[in-house]
């Protein structure tokens, strides 16, 4: 059994800092091992967290992050190794024990009751009151006071289901903080947030850590590591690659240590690395929206040329997703024209949009993309069922061959075409959603947050898939909160605000991510 940190390819391992010796770490793991059957999920992991520190935890899907988090949360028990809380050895036997020790975990899947108010959620199962009756006024007052103390910009009487995603996330964090919390674990909190919303979350995290709480921050977005964290620990294949002070390490070094020597290491590839013919200016647009109006759009004008990739940048709720939905027949167009190849079309249902050559990768792969309980084969076949039909019968062999081709073509890590989608990691699930559109390739790809919650390696592969499809003649319309991703993938960027396209510019006119961020911010005002 390996223990402690494995060889460090970068050579910048910080090791435990000297000043921290005096006060014991908030939480310290040593040689923690966890097996699932024959699989070593953790092979002797070391980790420590200091008071007031934001400690990023990085690694590809399958590196052991989730297992580690579950051990922190008391959901899983380690097989061997030690856990010390403030120097005292502790065994987390249950989630309640972890909670008592002051460890709070905010999971990706939100644990809120959507139909209840923020205050109700904060005090769920411990409402103030007497004789089983809830003192509703005190509940709201207590919640308000607490939120103010924590500096969280939340309205205690807002219903959670009406909140934008970022604020639901904040509610989740507020709920986690509402006990005696010394260690806060955040599992990919920004995976569905837009840039503006991220800042709200970062502010909250900074405030919390300033109060002495240690924050363990799991993410796939490396920029966040540099913005927010003091130290970084990288896991690979269930072992430590190393722990670094964030200030001592570069983006390239981090990517290298996450992916490993055999990895693709392609995260640095930018749009200039890949060549294709620029879309011809004279060609007819593949799709054109002329003054499109509906319940969420206020006169959208937008055109995508053949072979062109257009990015839609904007805040959540700006109408960017709704533009894709309106094109794909998921949202009725009240007035205006949707022209495909110059012809005005009424697209009333997705099946028509698919028939006209559109393909959608929706924002939420669990809710809108996949049937989680069904096999990869079934999921890949979904939008192509009618092509796989033979006089009413389903061509199973054909479908299986397609699924196999998708698994090979997109490097989906799965034992077989019969593997359930639920058993795949986030990145592989997203590749399954892409796999549906690989044969035949749609003429217009509509991608909504194509790499949300996807690790670095899989993200690169997804970019590659998009580029290949575009190289083969597809056009694409991409919505992303990751502005760097937009700059890398697209030719032009349309800025969306208030249900309209307020500006369109070629990517060459945008200096960098910060610049685009600023443009998006200004567009809101």
């Amino acid at each position: 059994m390996m223990s402690g940190s494995v060889s460090d390819p970068i050579g910048t391992s910080a090791g435990p800092a000297e000043e921290a010796r005096s006060t014991p770490p908030l939480i310290e793991l040593d040689g923690v091992v966890k097996h699932f059957g024959n699989v070593h999920a953790l092979r002797g992991v070391h980790f420590d967290l200091r008071p007031g520190e934001v400690h990023a935890l990085l690694g590809q899907n399958g590196a052991g992050k989730s297992t580690l988090i579950k051990i922190f949360a008391g959901v899983l028990d380690k097989d061997s190794g030690t856990i010390r809380i403030e120097g005292r050895e502790t065994a987390f036997k249950s989630a309640a024990a972890a909670r008592t020790a002051g460890v709070a975990v905010v999971y990706q899947e939100l644990s809120l009751v959507p139909s209840m108010r923020v205050a109700d959620n904060l005090f769920l199962a411990r409402e103030p009151g007497r004789f089983g009756l809830v003192n509703r006024r005190k509940l709201v007052a207590d919640a308000r006071r607490f939120l103010e103390e924590q500096g969280l910009p939340l309205n205690p009487t807002a219903r959670v289901e009406h909140l934008p995603f970022a604020y639901r996330q904040l509610t989740e964090i507020a709920k986690a903080l509402s006990g005696e919390v010394r260690v806060l674990v955040l599992d990919e909190p920004t995976s569905s947030l837009s840039r503006g919303e991220e800042e709200i979350l970062f502010d909250a995290v900074r405030k919390v850590s300033r109060q002495g709480v240690g924050v363990i921050y799991v993410t796939h977005r490396l920029e966040e590591v540099f913005k927010l964290s003091d130290r970084v620990t990288v896991l690979r294949d269930g072992a430590n690659v190393g722990t670094f002070a964030t200030s001592d390490v570069t983006m390239e070094q981090l990517v290298g240590s996450i992916v490993g020597p055999s990895g693709t290491g392609a995260a640095s590839s930018k749009s200039e690395d890949y060549e294709r013919a620029p879309p011809s200016e004279t060609s007819q647009p593949v799709i054109e929206l002329v003054d499109v109006n509906n319940d969420r759009l206020n006169g959208v004008n937008l055109a995508v040329q053949a072979g062109e990739v257009v990015g839609l940048a904007g805040m959540i709720g700006s109408g960017r997703t709704e533009i894709l939905e309106s094109i794909f027949g998921l949202r009725r167009i009240a007035s205006g024209e949707l022209r495909i190849d110059g012809e005005n079309r009424k697209v009333r249902a997705p099946i028509q949009a698919i028939g006209l050559g559109a393909g959608l990768v929706p924002e939420d792969r669990h809710l809108q993309g996949l049937v989680l309980d069904h096999s990869i084969e079934r999921n890949v076949a979904l939008p192509r069922l009618d092509r796989l039909d033979f006089f009413g019968l389903f061509r199973r062999r054909e479908s299986k061959a397609r699924a196999r081709a998708a698994i090979n073509g997109l490097s989906i890590v799965a034992p077989s075409t019969g593997t359930r989608a639920a058993e795949l990691s986030g990145g592989n699930q997203q590749k399954v959603v892409f796999g549906r559109w690989s044969d035949p390739t749609p003429r217009l790809l509509l991608l909504d947050e194509p790499t949300v919650g996807v690790d670095v390696g899989a993200r690169e592969q997804i970019y590659e898939v998009v580029r290949t499809m575009v190289a083969n003649g597809a056009s694409a319309l991409i919505v992303s909160s990751d502005l760097g991703e937009l700059l890398m993938l697209t030719d032009r960027i349309a800025v969306v605000a208030g249900g309209r396209v307020v500006d369109v510019m070629p990517v060459s006119e945008i200096r960098n991510e910060e610049h685009l961020h600023q443009i998006v911010q200004e567009a809101q005002a």
């Binding site: 997705p350 979904l382 009618d386 039909d389 690790d455």
Partner: protein, 326 residues
């Protein structure tokens, strides 16, 4: 969520076999077998060919409707109205036959059309009002029964067509009683539709995740209306079998049978939320219900107690079969 956690390897082969059994839904076959062995010991009559023919005949109504109910439940919907629909279809068939000179074909068409019509109304209301089919069919359960009682003045309607009785109730095809033949036809049809047709894929996808199915270009409303219509039509077929066997259509027939049908489908491994289940499972589920009804009778359990015992056994079976979920 990002790490895949494999199942712990199981060393004991016996335990292994148990897990496989649970994972594949094979437990239900063992359950059926165990029940039969138990009844075989308890009653000397149970293991006779005559009794098995009895079970087959008694089970046909539940089996035929369980095929439809399996489609509906896998589709993520629910149909509480099958019992009433069956009664209404039978009553309409008997009345129209009386009016047009006892032609069997008229009865057959009317029964199937009535069933299909009720099913289609269930489906259209479900998708247009965007209400759970559970509630919509709760209404039609009452309406169809009420109509059947109203048009007959609560009295049974006699059936005089010999052909009708032979084709749906008392005839034999190569020595097999026709009710069982109809069950086999429905089962094979259901298997082809659900497991081999493209439409079957749409049923599973819609039940597994309606939103994802919609986003993939599946007309989920059409799928739902169609499955509910098919189920209604199968209730109409069950009505033909029932009325042919009793030479009369009773407006109060099949009250409460929907519960047996639903229990059969759930016992057969279909998830209440939709997306999983099989036709064969539903059929075996209905056989379990049939064997239970028959066996408890033979063993001489007090009829009042029978219902409670049946419920207990269904609880037990469901607890076992649900183990594989999560």
């Amino acid at each position: 969520m990002s790490d895949t956690e494999p199942e712990p390897a199981v060393a004991l082969t016996l335990k292994n076999a148990w897990h496989t059994l649970i994972a594949t839904g094979g437990l239900i076959y063992v359950g059926l077998l165990a029940l039969m062995i138990a009844f075989a010991f308890a009653s000397p009559v149970f293991l006779t060919a005559e009794n098995f023919a009895n079970i087959g005949r008694q089970t046909t109504l539940v089996s035929i409707m369980a095929v439809g109910m399996a489609l509906v439940i896998i589709n993520g919907e629910f149909d509480l109205s099958v019992g009433s629909t069956m009664a209404l279809s039978g009553v309409f068939a008997a009345i129209t036959m009386k009016m047009v000179g006892h032609e069997w074909i008229v009865g057959a068409v009317v029964a199937l059309a009535t069933g299909a019509m009720v099913g289609m109304v269930n489906g259209l209301l479900t998708v247009k009002l965007m209400m759970p089919s559970f509630l919509i069919t709760l209404g039609s359960l009452s309406i169809a029964r009420g109509l059947a009682l109203l048009v007959t003045g609560t009295r049974p309607v006699n059936i005089l067509s010999e052909d009708y009785v032979m084709i749906f109730g008392e005839g034999h095809v190569v020595g097999i009683p026709v009710p069982i033949v109809w069950t086999i036809v429905c089962t094979i049809g259901g298997i082809i539709l659900l497991h081999f047709s493209t439409f079957g894929r749409k049923i599973y996808a819609t039940g597994g995740n309606t939103t994802a199915a919609r986003y993939s270009g599946i007309n989920t409303d059409f799928v739902k209306v169609t499955t509910l219509t098919i189920t209604g039509m199968l209730a109409g077929l069950a009505a033909l079998v029932l009325t042919a066997r009793s030479h009369a259509a009773r407006p109060d027939a099949g009250a409460g049978i929907e519960l047996d049908v639903i229990a059969a489908v759930i016992l057969g491994g279909a998830a209440l939320g939709g997306g999983t289940g099989t036709i064969v499972g539903a059929l075996v589920g209905s056989l379990i219900i049939g064997v239970l009804n028959n066996g408890l009778n033979l063993v001489g359990v007090d009829p009042s107690l029978q219902l409670a015992v049946k419920g207990l056994i269904i609880w037990f079976a469901i607890a076992l079969s649900r183990r594989r979920v999560r």
